[in-house]
Symmetry: C2
Subunit: 132 residues, 2 copies
Amino acid sequence: MPTDQLSATFSALADPTRRAILARLALGETSVTELAGPFAMSMPAVSKHLKVLERAGLIARGREAQWRPCRIEVQALKPVDEWLENYRRLWEQRFDRLDDYLRELQAQEQDKEKKQGGRAKTKKEKSRGAKK
Amino acid sequence: MPTDQLSATFSALADPTRRAILARLALGETSVTELAGPFAMSMPAVSKHLKVLERAGLIARGREAQWRPCRIEVQALKPVDEWLENYRRLWEQRFDRLDDYLRELQAQEQDKEKKQGGRAKTKKEKSRGAKK
C-alpha cells in the first residue's frame, strides 16, 4: 500500500479500468450504476475501483444516500504533471540534441557536395547509368 | 501485475524509491553500487526496484559483465504526458471558469458601488472614521 500521496495517485492510475472510469467522469458526474454499465463488471468490482480512486483523491462522491454521484477531482492530477515537468525538459533537450546532430550531418553532406564541384551523383543514378 | 504498458509505467512510478532512482539517473548514467549508496538499501532491494523500472522500459542497463551502468529512458514517460493531456485541458477549463466567475463577481460589485452614487466607504475606512 503506498504511503505518500504521489505514490497513491500513480498506483490508482496503474489500472486500465480505473483510467476508463476517470475518462467517463471527465465528461460529467454520474452514478455508480451508470458507471458499471459499459464495463460489464459487477457492482462490487466497480465499487472497489472507485474506493481506490477516492482514497487517491482522484474522485469524490456525493452524500445522497440513494444516489451517490461520482465526480472527477481533476486537480489531483496536477502533482503528476508537476513531477513530469523535469523529465519533460530532459526529453525535449534530448530531442533538441538529436535535431542539432541531424542538422550538422546535413551541413557536412552539403559541404562535401560543394567540394566535389557541383552535384554528386547518387547511388541510384550511378546504377541507372550502368544499366544503359 | 499490470498487463498494458501504461499501467506498467504508472505502477513502476508508484514508489518513492523508484522515483528517486529515476531522479538520480536523470543526472547521468551510473552503476548499481553507486545507486544503492544514498538509499541505504541492500543491493538485492535496489536490484528489485531496477527490475521493475527496466520491465516498464523506464531504464536500460549496459551489457558489460562487471559494470552494468543504468540509464534513464526518458521517452518512456511520454505516454504518461500524453495521457495527462486531456485532463490538463479539463483543469485549465475549470480554472478559466473560476476566473470568469471571480471577474463577474468583481464587475457586479463595481456596478453596485456606481449605483450607490460614487465610491462607497470600506469597513476599514468607516472604523477609522469612528475612531477620530
